[in-house]
Point group: C2
Chain length 204, copies 2
Amino acid sequence: MTNPMIALIEQRVSANLFDATHELADAQIEELVRLATRAPTAYNLQNWRFIAVRTPEGKARLRRLAYGQAKVLEAAVTFIVIGQHPDHRALAERLRPFVDTGLMHAETASGWQESVRTQYADAKAARDEAVRSATLGAATLIYAAEAQGLSTGPMGGFDADGVSREFDLGPDEVPVMLLAVGRAATGNWPQKSRRATGEVLHFS
Amino acid sequence: MTNPMIALIEQRVSANLFDATHELADAQIEELVRLATRAPTAYNLQNWRFIAVRTPEGKARLRRLAYGQAKVLEAAVTFIVIGQHPDHRALAERLRPFVDTGLMHAETASGWQESVRTQYADAKAARDEAVRSATLGAATLIYAAEAQGLSTGPMGGFDADGVSREFDLGPDEVPVMLLAVGRAATGNWPQKSRRATGEVLHFS
C-alpha cells in the first residue's frame, strides 16, 4: 500500500485547465498560506509574502502580465509568491517568540542576526535567498493544496517588472512565481516524463 | 481528523541532531531522488542534479565546506542539491518521451525550446531558474523523506565555491542547498514560531 503522501508526490501534475466556476473562500486561501509558511527558511527568516489574486479585476490585471495565460482567470485564485531580500533588522522580531520560550538564547538570536547581516550583504546572495525561500513556500503551498484535492499550476513566465509595479512590490521584493490554485477541468496533460534517476543522481 | 499530508506539513521541523548510527541503502537514496524529481520545473526542464554524500570521506570533505556542521557527518546522507542554468539544446531530449506519446506536438516542443533560449539568455534569469528548480526538487525531497518517517535538515550556509570545486560542478551549475536526511536524534528544537498569516498574505 502506497503512503498517501508519496502517492500525491508521484501523481501530481501541473494543471493548465481549471474549472472557472469553482471558487475558494478567503478562509480557505488563508489556510493554504498558513500551511505554506510552515516551510523552512534560513535562520527562520520567513522572507516571503503572498498576494492572493481572486477578484475578476485583479485576475484580468495579472493575466495581462502573465502573457494572457487563461488559467489566471479560470483558477479560483492565483498567488503571486514573493521573496524578500533578507533583512537582519527584521530577524529579531521573527525569532522573539521562540526566544521567549526559553529554548533559544537571546545571544544565539543576536548571533543569527549578525550572520544574516554578513551572509546577505552581497546582492546576489540576497536575491538567491529570496528565490529559495519563496520557492520553498510555493512548493509547500502546492502540496497543501493537492492534499486538499485541489490542483495547482505554477508559472515562471510572466512580466516580473510589471507585476512588481502593478501590485506594489517593494524594492527588495522579487515576484518568484505565480501559482494558480483551483479545481482542474478535464483535458489536462498527464504528468510529463522524467529523466532516469541514474542520470541526475551521483554518489560520493 | 487531519489529513496525514497536512499534518506532516504542519509538524515538520528542520532537524539539527541526527542519529549517527542510522544508514540508508543506496536504493532508498535513489527512491528519494526519484520522488524529488516529480517536482515541477518550467518547461519540464528538469535542470537539476543531486549528489548523495554518504561515505565517511565524502562527509568529512563536505563538512569542512559547511563550516563544520556536525549533521553532515551524523545524518545518513547529505544531498548537494544542484540547479543548472537552463539549456534549450537539452530540452528536446527531455520532452521527446512526451512528444512520442502523441500528446505534445513536435512543433510545441520546438516552440518551448525557442522560449527557453530567449527567456534565459539573461544570466540573472538563468540563475534564478536554477535556484527555483533545485529548490522545488529539494522541497519535494523533504516531504518524500518525511513521509517515510525520516527527518531532514536543509542548509543554506556553506562555501558554494568550495563545493563547486571539490565536487566537480560544471560552470553552469549552482549548489543551491545542502540537505541532510536521516533519523533524528533526541534534543532537536521544536518548530520555530511563524509570522501571523495576516502579516504575509494580502488579497487582490
